[in-house]
Amino acid sequence: MTADIVLWLAQDGVTNGAIYALLALALLLVFSVTRVIFVPQGEFISYAALSLSLLQAGQVPGVVYVLIGGGFLAALFEAGVALRDKALGRLPLVFLGYIVVPCAMAALAWWAAPRKLDLGWQVLIVLGLIVPLGPIVYRVAYQPLAKASILVLFIASMAVHYVLQGLGLVFFGGEGLRSTAFSDASFRLGVLQMSAQSLLVVLASVVVMAALWLFFGRSIYGKALRATAINRVGARLVGIRTGLAGGLSLLLAAFIGALSGILISPITTIYYDTGFLIGLKGFVGAILGGMASYPLAVVGALVLGLLEAYASFWSSAFKETIVFAIIIPPLVWLSLRSRPLEEDEEEAE
């Protein structure tokens, strides 16, 4: 193994690690606010990457049906609650949020697809199609169970994952797609040939992390999310709507998932089920960071990316085994450290 191979692998590891880090942050965010282990995170990656490829080919991505259908379902749930509470004044807002917005985004995609707009617009349209899915998924699948135990929420997550993956196969088909690169440029950096695309991945990840840091540190919504994460009951007592916090956290998760998908779609071939594995690695990164600290999760994800790169050089047949096996020591450590009564306390809450 020569020095330039070490550098090449490091570059590759950091590029992948940056994506895993973003996903680890999203998973951690959703977990701390809603106690949901957000397995379907990966579906947003696949949906976004495949939608972008289809838009570039001038086709309407099938995800518009998922968006409209999900929006109607969520509106139905919300209308049911409004009728029960005799609060019909909420209905216009529900109608706007869950029906008008998804339909408008779908219509935009229909209009834009045959026109093959600039890449920037296509990226915005994809974000517009995928990001609203976050709150919709929360409203339909998780909000009715918000008080359930972590295990029940996890089972619901698995169900959502299977539903979304199945829909992905129906609407995108079994074959993989790859979108055209944002830029073909590449820079020489010593022995390294750095592509603009992988530089963009790292840069975008850093920007998003900085934005998240500002959002949580400065904005009222970010603080509300943090408060909910630290103490749900307390947050409710001071007037934070935990349902809203849940929807907001999934909105962010969907945004991060969609962005990751858009960033990697020119680097690799994406299938309808690729996102799950990428999301799972983000999850491993979050666990390496103890599933509690954001900076540690980022470090964990970067370590994972590097480990994966070197493992694929040294022993590619065992790459996946190595990557997923390193989850075991932190898990053992976490379970030894935690108090056995934790789950009961949650249920009593």
Binding site: T2, I5, W8, L9, D12, T15, N16, I19, L169, G173, G174, E175, G176, L177, R178, S195, I264, I267, T268, T269, Y271, D273, T274, L277, I278, A309, Y310, A311, S312, F313, W314, S316, A317, K319, E320
Partner: protein
């Protein structure tokens, strides 16, 4: 005593009920799930088949196993017990097909395996493998490598059964063709990067590289190799030959060479090629029904299964009626002895030791030129 009489009467009644006039072909395919992109092609082929087998009316019962071996096993048992299938066909995944073949052997009915599964013993006794064995396909690559004076071959393939199958085929061909496999790198279809494997491959400096992937998944290593400046030949296997591979790989896969059945490029075959007429006819009918450019090797496997049955059924009908064990055994024997059945993929000559029956007439080499698969010149004679 009484019980025995009732049981005997019941058994007689059942036997009478199962001896039906039509032949039932039980099919299980992965029409949904991860294998769906192939399964759909297999299913389409059934629309182009005739209404009879050897002159006897036939009923195809097609079930979806969602590309899951457990479901394939369930479907096979259901087809045997509820539909009284006389013969099974399936599935588009090797693990699923193996499960079905086991069920067929238990029920003592013949089975046409539509993936290149490796079977043995009693299971193989009842099973006939329609597609070309991986080794037969890869021998076309090995021949070409030898002809070009290649000695050191780098290998990168899926970290699953398919990657293993292609690697083992290359391994067994290495000696007779004077090749040396210098790497056994593995990757997964869902990997976001193969940089590590590609660096490893290139550091061993091979004369040519063989990729053990399939479809769009096989584009990933080739694109990475080309990006890293690899200039020598890259060979694939028959699982890669489809239009999506070129769509995903773009310019980077220009020049990629792979073996395939003659069905993929029938127009370019010389007129003397034994399967030209059957292959061309099927391709035309398929594209007329499902649209231009939809041709693929997979539909041909299902169709060849039908042609094999059509050839074997007349001999079996002389021994028993459909639905009886005599017919099943006779059909098995007849399939085992088919001679010169010209299919879309090749000419089938089976015998008790060879339940595939294809020879080198069943493969040609194709190459990506100008964004489409074309016959490699001088090949297919």
């Amino acid at each position: 005593m009484k019980f025995r009489i009732i049981a005997a009467a019941l058994a007689a009644g059942l036997a009478a009920a199962t001896a039906h006039a039509e032949i039932v072909v039980g099919v299980s395919l992965g029409i949904t799930g991860p294998g769906a992109s192939l399964g759909v092609h297999y299913r389409n082929a059934f629309q182009l088949m005739g209404k009879t087998l050897g002159g006897e009316p036939v009923r195809f019962v097609i079930l979806d196993d969602a590309s899951d071996p457990t479901n394939a096993a369930k479907n096979a048992r259901k087809l045997v017990s509820e539909e009284k299938a006389d013969v099974l066909m399936g599935s588009n995944g090797v693990p699923s097909a193996v499960q079905m073949a086991q069920a067929a052997a238990e029920a003592k009915i013949p089975m046409l395996v539509m993936t290149p599964a490796v079977l043995s013993g009693n299971v193989l006794h009842w099973s006939f493998v329609v597609p070309q064995p991986t080794e037969l396909m890869m021998s076309a690559v090995a021949e070409q490598l030898k002809a070009h004076g290649v000695k050191r071959v780098g290998y990168i393939g899926y970290s699953d059964t398919w990657g293993d199958l292609v690697y083992k085929a290359m391994q067994s061909l290495a000696k007779p063709y004077g090749l040396e496999l210098v790497t056994d790198e593995r990757y997964a279809r869902s990997d976001t990067s193969v940089t590590g494997q590609v660096l490893r491959l290139m550091s061993t400096n091979p004369d040519a590289i063989v990729v053990g992937g399939s479809g769009t998944g096989a584009a990933l290593p080739q694109v990475a190799l080309v990006e890293r400046g690899y200039k020598k030949a890259i060979y694939h296997n028959h699982g890669t030959v489809n239009a999506e591979f070129i769509k995903v790989g773009g310019k980077a896969v220009e020049g990629a060479i792979a073996p395939t059945g003659p069905l993929v490029v029938p127009e370019e075959l010389p007129d003397s090629f034994p399967t030209k007429k059957v292959s061309l006819d099927f391709t035309k009918r398929y594209e007329a029904t499902f649209g231009a450019g939809t041709r693929n090797a997979f539909a041909g496997y299902a169709y060849d299964g039908y042609l094999l049955l059509d050839a074997a059924v007349p001999a079996a009908l002389k021994k028993g009626k459909p639905g009886t064990p005599q017919f099943h055994e006779a059909l098995r024997t007849a399939l085992e002895n088919v001679k010169n059945v010209v299919g879309t993929h090749g000419v089938y000559n089976m015998d008790p030791k060879n339940h595939n029956g294809l020879d080198e007439r069943a493969r040609v080499l194709v190459q990506v030129r100008n964004g489409a698969w074309h016959l490699v010149k001088g090949n297919g004679q």
